[in-house]
């Protein structure tokens, strides 16, 4: 049922990676993306794969769980592979009717697909091992310097937190509205695409109304609980770097350095 949905794709486990400060995980993910674009050889990719494999092993997230997320992106992977395979000119190694495959094309196709797979697995690890709430908290802290430039960082993080909190509530509300409209004879299952889209209006309009009502109630409740913006707020779980976070920082930057050296010397 609609109540059972999981938010994001967090995989609940107790591992070193799960316990790391969200800030280091966000930074490491960003650096990892950069690193994948620094790498220009297969050797580099194997090196990155080994490092990623180690992190996955440490995170205790089963491989099947990670690859499940990849399924949705399979089309993009295949598309990238095919486009690169056929569109790049060079020494022809295979020819059938109008399709030609060049050596360079094959190389580029493998290369880009490898890069994409690594990119998806690596970044999904961030959301797999970090609760959405810690993620928004981490982002708020990382973006904090921007608040000096009048960027409403706290407000953005608070909006994300509330959005996450109210996804299930709004889903339940949608469920209720659908049932209420069906009880009055609304039909959502038949007709062509345009008709079906039109039939959604009796769901969307009440949903908007109730979203506004919820927002009003929530604003009232937040004000009653002394919410006055980010200034002077303390946290139940204050973010503090521990020893393991420092170790992680050292490892992350050592890896960055080694990738750069690899690019220069190989």
């Amino acid at each position: 049922m609609i109540r059972d949905i999981t938010l994001g794709q967090y995989y609940n486990a107790d591992s070193v990676i799960h316990r790391l400060d969200p800030r280091i995980k966000i930074i490491a993910s960003l650096l990892y993306i950069v690193e994948l674009f620094v790498v220009d050889s297969f050797i580099g990719f194997f090196y990155a794969t080994a490092a990623l494999g180690l992190v996955i092993a440490l995170s205790k997230v089963p491989l099947s769980f990670i690859f499940r997320g990849m399924k949705a992106l399979l089309i993009i992977l295949i598309f990238t592979f095919v486009i690169n395979l056929f569109m790049i000119d060079g020494t022809i190694i295979f020819k059938l009717w109008i399709f030609t495959i060049s050596k360079e094309g094959l190389y580029a196709a493998l290369f880009m697909t490898f890069r994409l797979v690594l990119l998806i697995t690596g970044t999904s690890l961030l959301t797999l091992t970090t609760k959405p709430i810690s993620l928004t908290d981490g982002l708020e802290r990382l973006l904090y310097p921007l608040s000096k430039l009048k960027v409403p960082t706290h407000e953005i993080a608070m909006m994300m937190t509330i959005a996450l909190r109210f996804i299930p509530t709004l889903l339940e509300e949608t469920d209720k509205i659908i049932k209420a409209q069906q009880a009055r004879g609304a039909d959502f299952e038949s007709g062509n695409l345009i008709n079906r889209a039109k039939n959604l209006i009796p769901i969307i309009v009440p949903l908007f109304v109730s979203a506004f009502r919820i927002a009003h109630d929530l604003a009232m409740a937040m004000e009653a609980r002394c919410y006055k913006g980010g200034e002077g707020r303390t946290r139940l779980h204050p973010m503090k770097y521990g020893k393991r976070d420092l170790v992680a920082y050292v490892l992350v930057f050592a890896f960055l350095a080694s990738i750069i050296l690899l690019r220069i010397f190989i």
Binding site: D217, A224, C226, T234
Partner: protein, 288 residues
């Protein structure tokens, strides 16, 4: 009154609505929700406010902690006047509020984070927040659920978390704005048990409700009448024995009073001051 913690003097509240006419001009429509309410609420007391829909009971609740500011009149909480903008946060910390809809007042997606929301806003140090969150959750019996997501809990459980969230701000007064209206009977009982417990612990309780059976548990009942302010004010016994006046404003007296009335009409000698079912049962049993 010596011990008064909240003093309301001649409170008038008007909702102002802008209405656009056919010719495009706007007209201000004024609706008076509260018409001259004066109340003295004693420290540590349990006050129930009852009234039909539109009698302004929710408006009154929101005026007490400054969510709405009086159009006219004066409210003082612990000697601080509410119009005093700089002290508004002190007052809101002191007068916590629990609302009707259990879903729409929880902010965080984990129980303990939600309970911590109030003290976090107040800038309480982390260790103290931890202590308060644990204490509040234990008091409402939800400590085991502290790491759950609120949307997986029942209405009654969610409302208990909302109460814990109010408690964690360490208030002297808690205003309950129809906290049981959206709950099933079981959730209603749980919430009422907690309200009674908080009263015993010395908190001042203001309970807005339309369930007479809940109002009977208070030590003072105020009945509001639409458009004319306070109709009745007194102990549950004093208020509920006036069943005729209650019926005039479309309120049904508690079951025990209703039954007592009917038995009296049939010629039985039932005392006027029986308001609770248990009292009535006891009285009837000793008749035999």
């Amino acid at each position: 009154m010596e011990n008064s913690i909240i003093k309301i003097e001649n409170l008038i509240y008007e909702y102002v609505k802008q209405e656009v006419l056919d010719d495009g001009s706007t007209v201000e429509k004024v609706k008076r929700a509260l018409n001259g309410i004066s109340l003295d609420i004693e420290k540590g007391s349990f006050l129930a406010v009852v009234g039909q829909n539109g009698s302004g009971k929710s408006t009154l609740a929101k005026n007490i902690n400054g969510l709405l500011l009086p159009t006219r009149g004066k409210i003082t909480v612990k000697g601080v006047e509410l119009a005093d903008d700089e002290r508004i946060w002190d007052i809101r910390q002191n007068v916590a509020m629990v609302f009707q809809n259990p879903d729409n007042q929880l902010v965080a997606s984990i129980v303990e984070d939600d309970v911590a929301f109030g003290p976090e806003n107040l800038g309480v140090p982390s260790e103290v927040i931890r202590q308060r969150v644990d204490d509040a959750l234990k008091l409402v019996g939800m400590y085991e659920m502290r790491n759950k997501a609120p949307h997986l809990l029942s209405g009654g459980q969610k409302q208990r978390i909302a109460i814990a969230g109010a408690l964690a701000m360490d208030p002297d007064i808690i205003v309950f704005d129809e906290p049981t209206a959206m709950l099933d009977p079981k959730g209603r009982k749980e919430v009422m048990a907690i309200i009674n417990k908080l009263h015993e612990e010395g908190k001042t309780i203001i309970l807005i409700t339309h369930f007479m059976e809940e109002a009977v548990q208070a030590d003072r009942v105020v009945i509001l009448k639409k458009g004319s302010g306070i109709l009745l004010d007194g102990s549950p016994k004093e208020v509920f024995c006036q069943s005729e006046t209650l019926r005039d404003v479309d309120l049904t007296p508690p079951l025990a009073v209703e039954l007592g009335d009917r038995l009296r009409a049939r010629g039985m000698d039932i005392p006027q001051d029986i308001t609770r079912i248990e009292e009535l049962v006891e009285y009837l049993c000793q008749l035999k």
